[in-house]
Subunit: 253 residues, 2 copies
């Protein structure tokens, strides 16, 4: 945990925050804070700041928090993710939040096991909790918007264009002829990445996405775990839009 | 598992292979093979090929294997990795093998907990097992060379140059002024990536690596888990060396 995340209602006007839950335990047992210790703090969907420990004992931890500047902007990239099995889903949501995605759309695809679409796995509170873990890791405060669609075709045909802004659209597809290096990402502009399940999208799905402007790109013939593929392809797209000659660095770096 | 990995001694001249271990179970229970089924096979540090299931029952699975072409070349990139905690180490070794690293050097750094350098965690057989998992995932056969150094300074001063070829050298350092987009990776050429522990290298370590030609680069101010950082930064460096204008695509894509 690189950032102590607070709910807006936990921060009173004076900035004195009392914690008695797992965050207090983490401060005491992992970070081993003492009165006077400073920690980075952030308000969910709010500003970042610093907290100074005032008191710290078995009952909990009290900090005085000061926040600097404005709330960071919401992420502008979108991730379309075929629902992986629950453990992988948790890691992917954490990672996507750490990478700063502004919107995550979970989608059923042909190779998604129906069992992974159960209501327990996809309960909004559970998904959100995974996202908060990613924000704590990456020192971010903006929670991505989450949406879940259990049917691929109706989503792509009827909902995609309304929900996902018309940014550069890329679908990761190991069999694609175009390498990620030639993905159509514009300087400093947001992108949408569609990432399939372990085993990939089926050709029909790639065609449907291509009909909506998604360019199939391949990061090579060696299959990676979904969360590794997410980090790798995201890194490549983010690098492309920052390359000297393509234009200015996006402001949220 | 996307590749059935076989030990050289398991493959007789006729190519008929009998399995009765976890691989046989995986073939039966996960891939649900039957006589006639085809699976991708590979010999550790040998060629890739196809196996046809001849027999399949509770005692095990027998396949006839045919191998195509030559043994793929060993990877030419090197990873210098500060030893993370055991679970993360296992994931990083798996991932680095999947990414095709030819050499992985595990290194103690200042922020590495001494407990993670215990002989159990770093037993060669254990490390190798993690690498094999990555090869199965990524359909590769070449096992990376592994080396472990428990002292940072003597390694960097006395062993680094002899062990690690004089390729482009890059150290991931979130505080660096140079973004990954300007890493000194040459077209089609191998690179060496030094990746620190969660929390990063300390400045003294970055200076010592810089004195040996490692260019500090940053993928941005948002800390990622070590395995995510590995996938992301690796993807960026691999993309840089493939960019149109920088030269030909490396032959091992």
């Amino acid at each position: 945990v690189n950032l102590l995340l607070l709910h807006p209602h936990e921060v009173p006007p004076g900035g004195e925050v009392g914690l008695a839950d797992r965050r207090a335990r983490h401060l005491r047992e992992v970070l081993r804070v003492a009165p006077g210790s400073e920690v980075r703090v952030g308000v969910i969907d709010g500003p970042l700041g610093r907290g100074t420990v005032l008191r710290c004992d078995a009952q909990g931890v009290t900090l005085r928090c000061e926040f600097e500047g404005e709330t960071p902007p919401a992420g502008s990239d979108t991730l379309l993710l075929a629902v992986p099995r629950p453990k992988v889903l948790a890691r992917c949501l954490e990672l996507a939040s750490a990478l700063g995605y502004g919107r995550i759309v979970l989608l059923r695809s042909w190779r998604v096991e129906k069992a992974h679409l159960g209501s327990r796995e996809l309960a909004p509170a559970r998904l959100r909790e995974c996202c908060l873990r990613g924000l704590e890791q990456a020192r971010r405060t903006r929670v991505p918007e989450l949406a879940v669609f259990s049917r691929f075709k109706p989503f792509v045909e009827d909902r995609l264009d309304a929900l996902v802004p018309r940014t550069a659209r890329v679908v990761a597809h190991p069999a694609a002829a175009t390498p990620t290096a030639r993905a159509p990402v514009a300087a400093g502009a947001p992108f949408t990445l569609a990432l399939g399940p372990e085993g990939g999208w089926i050709p029909y799905e790639v065609e449907m996405l291509a009909a909506r402007g998604f360019v199939p790109v391949s990061a090579g013939p060696h299959p990676l775990r979904v969360e590794s593929a997410l980090a790798l392809v995201h890194g490549q797209l983010a690098l492309l839009r920052e390359l000297p000659g393509r234009g200015p660095t996006p402001s949220d770096r």
